[in-house]
């Protein structure tokens, strides 16, 4: 392989009381690719995300990002290093307006925002950037709407715009198209493809047609373990994968 690895886990394991959610996962995501993490419910996909961004602490194993170990780094620091996640349940700031939601992320480029003595107006300089992102996800006309009042699909779009605003080197998207209408799915897929041109994406996704069209590489998890890895065509024919998805295939 020519490309270099941006994110790597070694023996990543998470045990909860009496049950292993993630078991000895070795994952290597190549820079500049879209890597999908799929698997049946309860396979440990979201737990994996929580471990990578240190919303959960692994029981064993290491995580390396851009060649540095981040296993023990704090979540906010990991985000500042350029590894930014989205959430399965739509994560917006419900009472803030759409524009403000995006601006919160853009504000990060200013460094820390501990300046409580400065007027909000200083943030207006970010509006042009925010508007461009809002347009990219198809939310024009909703700028002044409270994020909590948006329909589900548009909340997800807003969340992606907010994540993109950070210009992360790598995005972790947790089911970006879940609960979306058909048109929304197409728009978001196109958007992911576009933004992935100059960054790396690792996503959990249930919609297999999205996975098939978007991803360069797929890792299949089942009961916390890696079942198979490879391109969509290889993975989808893998007997263990078929079995995991359809139950005992030859029953």
């Amino acid at each position: 392989m020519a490309g270099d690895t941006i994110l790597e886990t070694r023996g990543l394991t998470k045990e909860f009381k009496g049950f292993v959610a993630v078991k000895d996962v070795n994952l290597a995501v190549e820079r500049g690719t879209i890597h999908a993490l799929i698997g049946p419910n309860g396979a440990g996909k979201t737990t994996c995300f929580n471990l990578l961004t240190h919303f959960l602490t692994p029981t064993r194993g290491q995580i390396h990002f851009k060649g540095r170990e981040i296993t023990g780094s704090r979540p906010a620091d990991i985000a500042r290093m350029g590894l930014v996640r989205s959430f399965q349940i739509s994560a917006v700031f419900p009472k803030l307006k759409v524009l403000e939601n995006v601006r919160i992320a853009l504000q990060r480029h200013r460094g820390h925002s501990f300046d409580f003595w400065r007027p909000e107006r200083v943030l207006d300089a970010l509006n042009a950037r925010a508007d461009a992102l809002i347009e990219a996800v198809g939310l024009v006309g909703f700028e002044a709407t409270a994020a909590g009042e948006l329909p589900y699909g548009r909340k997800r779009a807003l969340e992606i715009a907010t994540t993109l605003a950070l210009e992360p080197e790598m995005m972790l998207l947790d089911e970006p198209t879940a609960g979306m209408t058909h048109e929304d799915v197409e728009r978001i897929s196109a958007l992911i493809k576009r933004v992935a041109a100059d960054r790396t994406v690792l996503m959990v996704e249930h919609n297999l047609s999205v996975v098939a069209t978007l991803s360069d590489r797929i890792t299949v998890l089942a009961r916390g373990e890696v079942l198979a890895e490879g391109h969509y065509d290889e993975v989808s024919r893998h007997p263990a994968v078929v079995e995991a998805y359809l139950g005992t295939a030859h029953a």
């Binding site: 500042r80 419900p94 803030l96 403000e100 919160i104 504000q107 925002s113 409580f116 909000e120 950070l166």
Partner: protein, 302 residues
């Protein structure tokens, strides 16, 4: 609002009463910054009001500091206490956060009850008001009045600015969705700590000013009921609104003043108001009014 308060003593309102309202309004605004915009319910805010009161009263009376330095000393003491309390409490959320602040406030209460410099039940009495910057004689009621008004307006503007600042935006984001704010790279605890210290400092400013106005620092201001009272003021006036805490403080202090002849009944009446407020109009006076205006505006053709 500034104009209203500026003319208040000339339309027959008793200056000491208005000054009391202003001190509590500042206290409530400071508390509102924390609960209304940071989403943090402190149940020990009396310690910041009372600590500043004791320190500034002691500084003015025993050390002979001029009023501006006495107030500064009291405010600084509350800010320092805010940093220590904040560092301990901010790691927990919801009820645990409230309980930790209450526990620390109770410890402070018993410290002040026992410490000799506070004179226990008697409090520090006959605190000299002195001359502001060596020139303005604060024993003149009007000089004191406008000094208090200036301090209140300063505090109010600090809160207003903080809420509408880049910092305020992040604080609101953390209140709305803390995990998401963290995932965007914001260190939620440090933002909450800053909000907590700001709130403690301004509560201290209110307490220090109050001690000079009444020339008294007493246990009342560090008692847990005071922590409860400020919650009531903010809830009644409208949590998370700009003017709510001022209205809440005005209503509560007015009730306490005019119902004073009924003695213990005041407690029952304020308790009733609290229940009615929480059950019937949760947004508080200002919050409900704003919502009503919004509905009127939204009505087609209205």
């Amino acid at each position: 609002m500034a104009v209203l308060f500026a003319v208040a003593p000339w339309v027959g309102l008793y200056p000491v009463f208005v000054m009391k309202v202003l001190c509590f309004a500042l206290f409530a605004c400071a508390f509102n910054l924390l609960i209304g915009f940071g989403g943090l319910l402190s149940f020990g805010h009396a310690m910041f009001l009372g600590t500043a009161g004791y320190v500034s009263a002691h500084a003015a009376k025993e050390w002979g500091l001029p009023p501006e330095l006495a107030i500064l000393a009291g405010t600084a003491a509350s800010a320092a206490l805010g940093v220590v309390t904040g560092l301990i409490a901010i790691r927990r959320q919801g009820i645990y956060f409230a309980m930790i602040t209450l526990a620390i406030a109770q410890m402070m209460f018993f410290f002040y009850l026992q410490a000799p410099f506070t004179h226990g039940e008697d409090g520090i009495q006959a605190v000299p008001r002195g001359r502001l910057f060596g020139v303005l004689d604060l024993s003149q009621p009007m000089a004191m009045y406008y000094t208090v008004l200036a301090i209140f307006l300063f505090g109010f503007l600090v809160v207003y600015r903080a809420i509408h600042s880049p910092f305020g935006q992040v604080l609101k984001a953390i209140r709305e969705n803390e995990p998401r704010a963290i995932s965007l790279g914001y260190d939620a605890e440090r933002y909450k700590l800053l909000a907590f210290v700001l709130s403690a400092t301004l509560s201290g400013l209110a307490g220090a000013t109050k001690a000079l106005v009444f020339q008294l620092a007493s246990l009342t201001d560090v008692h847990w009921t005071m922590s409860g009272e400020v919650v009531l003021m903010v809830l009644l006036g409208g949590m998370g609104t700009i003017f709510g805490p001022v209205v809440g403080a005005l209503v509560i202090i007015t009730l306490e003043n005019y119902l004073a002849p009924f003695g213990q009944w005041v407690t029952i009446i304020t308790g009733l108001i609290f229940v009615v407020c929480v059950l019937a109009f949760r947004r508080g006076i200002v919050g409900e009014f704003a919502a009503w205006m919004e509905r009127r505006r939204a009505r087609p053709g209205g």
